[in-house]
């Protein structure tokens, strides 16, 4: 059986799609790869020249690190995979920040040495400076994987659920399940209660309808080979690129496994 993808929603930052004719192992592989194995760029080191703000240097460092950075991801490789020995334009990029109060310092105030490397959101508050307070620093961004630190986590809230299957048999149209359903998807049809195909995706598999039905007319099951995926990106990739990258990460891992096996 060939795998099928049915896209329900696709935007820059979020996507929802149905992945069918596959296994839980593969679906979970995609989910985990999107969260932990797709490399992104994030600030890893800062050199502070002046910080008289109310935030400690470490707090400032954490705030800067969590800002998602967009770039042409093919241009960079993680530092540990780079064979330059020290540092080079392929494994790190420098951004500078200099600000003086009063006023809020935003992520857009970061000045990048590479035009393509920019904060994904321009309006993330970094620090609130008062009269006379100053921040002058240089930040070094490097590529990394989400399994090391959340700063490199490209996928946000990636998850899936099995496709729900709700069947009615011998329904007496009492309507109790209609009021019991917390997502209001059960409707009374001509000779039985029913759920439209579109509304079926909203079912949370809570089984409250099964509990309330006095004549056991409702059966709630799941399709073990069909998954409703939700994927969100932090802005460093578009969701489309994120899913494609997650797929290629799995492919690369399988290729290297087969290479190792073939040498045995």
């Amino acid at each position: 059986m060939t795998m099928e993808v049915d896209i329900l929603e696709l935007s820059d930052r979020s996507a929802k799609f149905v992945l069918s004719n596959t296994t839980t192992a593969f679906a979970n592989g995609i989910r985990r790869a999107a969260l932990a194995d797709v490399p992104t760029l994030a600030i890893t080191e800062i050199n502070i020249y002046n910080n008289t703000s109310v935030l400690y240097d470490e707090q400032l460092g954490l705030r800067l690190a969590l800002i998602p950075l967009t770039s042409n991801m093919e241009d960079f490789i993680p530092k540990e995979e780079c064979n330059c020995g020290d540092f080079c334009p392929a494994c790190q990029v420098s951004l500078t920040l200099s600000a003086e109060g009063p006023g809020m310092v935003y992520s857009q105030d970061l000045v990048s040495s590479d035009d393509k490397v920019q904060p994904a959101d321009p309006n993330i508050p970094i620090a609130d400076l008062r009269e006379g307070q100053k921040i002058v620093l240089e930040a070094i961004a490097q590529m990394g994987y989400g399994n090391k630190h959340s700063r490199w986590q490209a996928g946000v809230a990636c998850g899936y659920k099995n496709m729900p299957i709700v069947e009615f048999s011998g329904c007496d149209q009492c309507g109790k399940c209609v009021t019991e359903c917390p997502v209001n998807i059960i409707k009374i049809g001509t000779n039985s209660a029913e759920i439209s195909t579109e509304d079926m995706l909203k079912c949370t598999l809570c089984r409250l309808c099964v509990g309330i039905c006095e004549i056991d007319a409702i059966d709630v099951k799941v399709d073990e080979h069909s998954f409703i995926f939700t994927v969100e990106s932090d802005g460093s990739y578009s969701t489309k690129e994120l899913i494609l990258n997650a797929g290629s990460v799995i492919k690369d891992k399988a290729t290297s496994l087969s290479e190792i096996l073939s040498t045995l």
């Binding site: 008289t52 703000s53 109310v54 935030l55 707090q59 954490l62 705030r63 969590l66 800002i67 998602p68 809020m104 992520s107 994904a120 959101d121 321009p122 309006n123 993330i124 508050p125 970094i126 620090a127 609130d128 008062r130 307070q133 959340s150 986590q153 946000v156 809230a157 969100e232 932090d234 802005g235």
Partner: protein, 62 residues
């Protein structure tokens, strides 16, 4: 300062803070503002809803 990302899911929520603060101050319902800003999960919603800005208390000190 508002945390940059949601503790649980990792979504960047700090970018919505300015608008959230301004609109709730003007009397809008926090729930409505968060719906408009696309903050749908309860993990992210509690980040904005329960945040207390302490920077004014700390501002006189360095």
């Amino acid at each position: 300062m508002i945390p940059v990302r949601c503790f649980s899911c990792g979504k960047v929520i700090a970018s919505s803070w300015d608008e959230y603060k301004r609109r709730t101050k003007d009397g809008e319902e926090p729930a409505q503002v968060m719906d408009d800003l696309g903050i749908t999960r309860y993990c992210c919603r509690r980040m904005l809803l329960s945040h207390v800005e302490l920077i004014d208390t700390l501002a006189p000190y360095q």
